[in-house]
Amino acid sequence: MLRGTFLGLETSKKGLLTARAALDVTGHNIANANTEGYSRQRVNISASDPLSFPGAFVTIRPGQVGTGATVTSITRIRSIYIESQLHQEHGRSTLYQTMSDAYIRVEDIFNEPSENGLNSLMDNFFNAWEDLSNDPESASTRTNLAQAGLAMTEFVNEQDRRLDREVANINEQLQDRVDRINQLSSQVAVINKQIIQIESGGESGQMKANDLMDQRDAMIEELSKIVNARVLHNNDGSLSVLVQGHPLVNGVDFHEIRLQQNEADLNRPYIEFSKSRIRLDIRAGELGGMLQMRDVELPTVRLEQEKLVTAFTNRVNKLHIGGYGLDGISGRSFFTDYRTEQYGGSSALPAGTTLDTTLDQLGFTSGDFFIQGQRIEITPAEVLASTAITLGDLFERIERATLDVRVSIDGSLGFQRVVFEQYNPVDSDTRLAIKDGSSNFFEQLGFDNATHEKYFLDPPYRNSLANFSLNPQILSDLDSIAAAADDGTGFPGPGDNRTALGIADLRNDSRALLNSSFGEYYQGLVSSIGATALTAQRSHSTQTLVVEQLVERRLEISGVNLDEEAVNIVKFQSAMRPTPAP
């Protein structure tokens, strides 16, 4: 059999075309050497199918004739493993970055250390009381004190507003991010479709939509920064993107998510799938960081600050109400008092019961009980006739153990009964909770059928930060500031400074607020804010390094090295030159 005359030419042409293709890809690589997200491409060259010569003489001259080289496919050099690692680490990095950035604003809200932070303002407030104790008769020390009080209340009110604004900002940003996620995931779905079309056009595994895939990868990378996304590679070249195990993109389908108003808490809209209404609990990425800030970090900071202000208001007021102003009147609070709730015994105490009556005289038994979740114990020794503590001692113990409870003997119903009142709670949701422990303490106090009253305030009570203010009476008449004490025999006189000394001494009261002083508590709060911020910042730095390394690794694999490409050019150019022509 004769071979065709031009078989050799054809082989040469194939070689040239193959080299040409390889040169083209190399050029493409060089052109994209600095393109973000570009993965270098490689031409896969293989020998084309040989020709066989079947015939009678096969046995004589068996063989196949090579037909030259051909391009089987052009593929991206990319590691899926690194890619998926990168998605995860991106999520973590942005989580910490978001928190770290948000904490900068929290730190600004507290403004420590500075001359204008609450630490200094509290110092000024207590110093003003000390100055008043040095000269209780004067108007100037009173003015000074009122100003110090105002500075503090205004600072705390501003903190309340800024903490609220922070939540509002996060909610706005959440909407923005959700929109972006929808945009990205819908685009991914579109690209998926294009890729499927392209790749299904050639023989299996031959057609690769490399540049589209790069585009899609860039989108997914952005997505993984916003939300913790996991990627599944489908056989048809498409990708599925999962969030918390739920598909955001499934091949050519994309599932929209939305920010849904939370009926239970208007300030906390949540994220769900628009159609399936599956609620998403996002723990990573920017969204995770925002939700963590909004739902955990900011409420914690707020609650701690509210506790401080509640205790501060109530401790100062308790002393102030018991003192006498320069006008000889007692019973006024220094900060505005908001009474929110009251529990009163329904049966009368024994006639003649006063705060000096001992528990023994009232026939109390030992045991324990709970107020605002705090356990209070009366030991057997405290109800013995010889060592019995008084009702007044017990009331003080209860008030000390709680932030917002005051206990008193009330005669407003025409008989003497014990009344638990809640003043200035941390927020309007905090209820007055009293519960018996091992003994029937409340029954002993006459609470067999307690009368309960909740006070609805106008304007409504929000929380101890928002409602922290000076009693308007104090502002309108400085003489109503109480420097004098009450020893049961009337106004002692303008020179009496015992209440002022008592309030000034609150700064050193190591049990003012849950076994620490106000200053220590505040200091702990500020330092824990700093510690959390620092942790977020450090985690972000670490995470940035991890991401950088992964990006490096990716570059190592997918990046274009111009030297290499230059070698390839030389290689493929030389491949063109010596192709033999018959």
Binding site: I104, E107, E112, P113, N119, S120, M122, D123, N124, F126, N127, E130, D131, S133, N134, E137, G352, T354, L355, D356, A484, G488, T489, G490, P492, G493, P494, G495, D496, N497, R498, L501, A504, D505, R507, N508, G519, Y522, Q523, G524, V526, S527, S528, I529, G530, A533, L534, Q537, E548, E552, L555, E556, S558, G559, V560, N561, L562, D563, A566, V567
Partner: protein
């Protein structure tokens, strides 16, 4: 490993950025000087920083407090040093003044200097430091002391403390307070009358009633605590007493007046008080003399209640009384003499005193002893230097007004004139109450040129606002004064809690003591009311007779005046069948009856309860009974012997207070005396040895100045009973057989009277009015003064024996006593008094010195605190520097280092990066 080109640049860029971040941070450190900007920069260092700034702020504040305290203490120190100088001078003057060689003019000069020192001391006591009175306790805006001066001579008679006992502290460190004030009372009025009650509790008192402090009414309700009572006492500043509740719940009373004592009196709310039995155990004023305990035949002590003109009799034919006098003269001596008293009836205790005086003068010689009726107590004093008197028992018996001889009870039982103790806020004073006062047909008035006339009854309308007996009395007296007929003839007065209306027998001529009181019966529509009954009059005299003294008790029965309803709270009293009674021949021991806490609405309820209690006692059962008796329309609860029980004989019954009245309930049964010790009963101390009063007394003693300027027409005793001498009264002075007379003019004073006496006696004798109100006649040459007798005659020529008694020096406690102290050595006494004063002056000095010492130690403590605070401040600042501030040198060097790195990196980068194989291929 493949190195793609972009990898080089991206690594290069991120490294470069890190360097730039470092540079930014270092730049910030160098520009602010602070190591940290926000909490995350170093949470624990920020925590330390906050803590240090708090420490710093409080330390600086403590320093301010200390400075403030120092200023105040220094001021106090300067003031008290000045006081110290004043008192030192007073001491010198006292020593000078007690010299016997001084003339009267010398003494006057000294007295005037003392007065100046006094005035200056008072000015110092009112010092203020930048507008705050430093000695006023908490009442810093009130002048510490009010000056009560005599309007006639402008001299300070006493001062009243207007502050309180508050102590003002400065906060000088954590839980470190230091007092920076001293209340003026503790310095200037140290040693003033105080009373402290027994321990009570903080609970409501559970009993009710009323009592008086310095004639100011205090009401106690069952719901009151001790603090409420104290508050009520303090609210009424006119009592000049401050009440406190001590930490162990005692009521403590302190007189705020430099000279005035505290007078306490139960008005209602106690069992035995309401039965007209006064608390036993009178205060004894035993300084250089003794007070004779008056005992009845049972040996029981008798009350200190004044006994105006009540007849006494000695039950035994005659009695011996042993008086022992000892003294320091002639190396010390002791003399005992028996005095035999005749068994006669004495018209008053004063008469008895006169009798004893006479006998004592005979036995011991003249000018040794003074015997007198001191407000119902027989008092025997000696003028012997450093002398003392001991007196044996004296048994007395009283004749009850109904004529029966009362051997067991005593002479205080009688209600003097027609009225029972009138409770405060007497029921019935509602504005419609009125009664008439009528000078009866036997009383007549003669005015010049008129025939004697009998007056129509005059109606008295009671004011509804009357809150106390004194208010009612003032009201009635004002209306009497407004009536031209009654004015000067009739007066209402407080006779130990009773309203008493009497004719005064002075002024223009009035007939006999004829006085008729009658309930007004006004026409419709105002209904007739029993005003007199409500006022406590239980017998309405209807005849022209003088109101007869009606016995509140007959023998062996004790009346309840009807203050119903009465609230009782566990009061006890005892019922004793006295020695005159016996059961089966023996005299049983007293039985204590305790009244249960209750409100007794009627007398019958009360009697029933007493009988319940009596029935519980085997002794009293069948021997004693409580009955309700109606006298004059008012119900009484009487406790009587029944004599019906088997073996019970006799009618002798004695009641005694176990639980005294209201005051006892408040725990005020045992007042303390300044300088220690307790005194049984409710007493008063007339000596107030505080700094101010000592100076006032010194001045007055040196001046010989006293009540000399008080009007003869305005003499009254502590009970408010008037002994005035109306203009026109004639006083006759007898001496050496001759006599002269002195007619009381409208504005005659004690000094006028003294001058009149002196002009009568001639040049060799001097007469002066002492500060204590006594007129003293003495001989400057130490020779004996002859007998002087004083007689006083009213306008109708009647003898004014009451005044004469006082002039003879044996009468009761008058504020302005008039006493003729004849035959005594004046100089001895003066010396004695002044010597006593030196003790008081020394004590005042000691007080000042010790206070100055306290101030010194406090100042030292403050100085020390200042130093400590400074050290603390420096150390804290140092720590804060280390903690907060950037180390500049370090920061700058680091900055330079980073800058170099940056520069090098930029230089290298610019050269290395672009090279690729292409460059060679070209």
């Amino acid at each position: 490993m493949r190195i793609p080109n972009t990898l080089l640049t991206s690594n290069y860029m991120s490294d470069l950025q890190r360097v730039q971040q470092d540079i930014a941070k270092l730049l910030r450190q160098t520009s602010t000087g602070k190591l940290y900007e926000r909490p995350r920069d170093n949470p624990s260092a920020i925590s330390t920083s906050l803590n240090l700034s708090r420490v710093l702020a409080s330390t600086m504040q403590y320093t301010r407090n200390v400075d403030n305290g120092l200023g105040r203490l220094n001021f106090t120190e300067i003031t008290l040093s000045e006081v110290n100088t004043q008192i030192q001078r007073v001491r010198e003057l006292t020593v000078q003044g007690s010299s016997t060689v001084l003339t009267r003019d010398d003494r006057t000069a000294i007295a005037q200097e003392v007065n100046q020192l006094l005035e200056h001391t008072i000015t110092l006591s009112n010092s203020n430091f930048s507008g705050r009175f430093v000695f006023s306790g908490y009442e810093t805006l009130t002048e510490s002391f009010r000056i009560n001066s005599n309007t006639q001579d402008g001299f300070t008679n006493s001062v009243t403390y207007q502050g309180d006992f508050g102590s003002i502290a400065r906060n000088i460190g954590i839980a470190r307070d230091l007092d920076v004030n001293f209340d003026g009372h503790s310095i200037f009025l140290d040693h003033t009358w105080q009373a402290q009650g027994r321990q009570m509790s903080g609970q409501p008192l559970g009993f009710s009633g009323t009592f008086e402090i310095n004639e100011r009414l205090i009401v106690v309700n069952p719901a009151d605590t001790l603090a409420d009572v104290a508050k009520r006492i303090n609210t009424d500043t006119r009592s000049e007493v401050r009440a406190e509740v001590t930490n162990d719940f005692r009521l403590k009373l302190t007189s705020l007046n430099s000279s005035k004592s505290i007078k306490l009196r139960d008005l209602s709310g106690s069992v035995l008080e309401d039965m007209e039995i006064l608390p036993q155990g009178a205060f004894n004023k035993a300084q250089t003399g003794v007070t004779l305990p008056l005992t009845d035949s049972t040996g029981a002590l008798h009350s200190a209640a004044p006994v105006p003109g009540f007849p006494l009799s000695l039950p035994v034919a005659s009695q011996d009384m042993v008086i022992t006098l000892s003294g320091a003269a002639n190396g010390g001596f002791t003399e005992s003499k028996a005095i035999k008293l005749d068994a006669v009836t004495y018209n008053s205790l004063a008469d008895l005193a006169v009798e004893i005086q006479k006998k004592a003068d005979l036995a011991f010689g003249e000018d040794k002893l003074i015997v007198r009726d001191n407000g119902g107590l027989l008092e025997i004093e000696t003028f012997v230097q450093n002398g003392s008197v001991l007196v044996g028992d004296l048994l007395l018996g009283g004749t009850a007004p109904d004529g029966t001889v009362d051997t067991a009870s005593n002479f205080i039982l009688g209600a003097p004139y027609g009225s029972t103790p009138t409770p405060a806020g007497a029921a019935g004073t509602d504005g419609n109450d009125r009664f008439t006062i009528d000078l009866g047909p036997d009383a007549y008035i003669t005015r010049p040129g008129e025939t004697p006339i009998d007056l129509n009854p005059v109606e008295i309308n009671l004011d509804a606002s009357a809150a106390s007996l004194q208010d009612i009395i003032d009201d009635i007296n004002a209306q009497i004064l407004d009536n031209r007929y009654l004015s000067g003839l009739v007066r209402a007065e407080d006779d130990g809690g009773r309203l008493r209306i009497i004719t005064t027998q002075t002024g223009i001529q009035v007939g006999i003591d004829d006085l008729i009181l009658r309930n007004s019966v006004p026409g419709p529509p105002v209904p007739a009311t029993d005003t007199l009954g409500a006022l406590g009059f239980y017998v309405e005299p209807t005849t022209g007779e003088s109101a007869p003294p009606v016995p509140a008790q007959v023998q062996s029965s004790f009346g309840w005046p009807g203050a119903i309803p009465v609230v009782l709270g566990q009061q006890s009293f005892s019922i004793d069948l006295g020695p005159g009674s016996s059961i089966d021949g023996t005299d049983p021991a007293p039985v204590t009856i305790t009244m249960p806490v209750n409100v007794y609405g009627t007398e019958a309820q009360l009697a029933a309860e007493i009988n319940n209690q009596i029935a519980l006692s085997p002794v009293l059962k069948n021997a004693v009974i409580a009955v309700v008796v109606n006298r004059g329309g008012t119900n009484f609860v009487d406790i009587q012997t029944t004599n019906v029980g088997s073996g019970v004989e006799g009618t002798d019954l004695q009641l005694a207070d176990v639980d005294a009245g209201m005051l006892a309930l408040l725990g005020l049964g045992a007042p303390t005396i300044p300088g220690g010790g307790t005194q049984p009963g409710i007493g008063e101390i007339t000596e107030a040895d505080n700094m101010i009063n000592t100076m006032i007394q010194l001045r007055d003693e040196l001046l010989g100045y006293s009540a000399a300027q008080s009007r003869l027409s305005d003499l009254h005793d502590v009970n408010g009973v008037s002994y005035d001498l109306a203009p026109g009264t004639e006083i006759r002075i007898f001496s050496d057989g001759s006599s002269s007379s002195f007619i009381v003019q409208r504005f005659s004073t004690m000094q006028d009277l003294a001058d009149a006496i002196e002009s009568k006696l001639g040049v060799s004798l001097e007469v002066e009015v002492q500060r204590d109100g006594r007129i003293r006649v003495f001989n400057p040459n130490n020779s004996v003064v002859n007998d002087i007798r004083i007689e006083a005659y009213g306008l109708k020529g009647q003898r004014l024996s009451a005044f004469e008694e006082r002039m003879s020096g044996i009468s009761g406690r008058l504020i302005y006593r008039a006493e003729l102290a004849s035959r005594t050595t004046y100089e001895d006494e003066r010396f004695q008094h002044l010597t006593n004063r030196i003790g008081n002056v020394d004590r005042a000095l000691e007080k000042i010195t010790s206070t100055l010492a306290i101030i010194g130690s406090r100042t030292r403590r403050l100085d020390l605190t200042l130093t400590q605070n400074d050290t603390l401040n420096v150390n804290t600042l140092d720590l804060q520097n280390k903690n907060d501030n950037a180390d500049m040198a370090e920061a700058i060097i680091k900055l330079k280092e980073r800058e170099n790195v940056l520069n090098a990196a930029l230089g290298t980068g610019s050269r290395v990066i672009p090279t690729t194989l292409f460059d060679f291929l070209r």
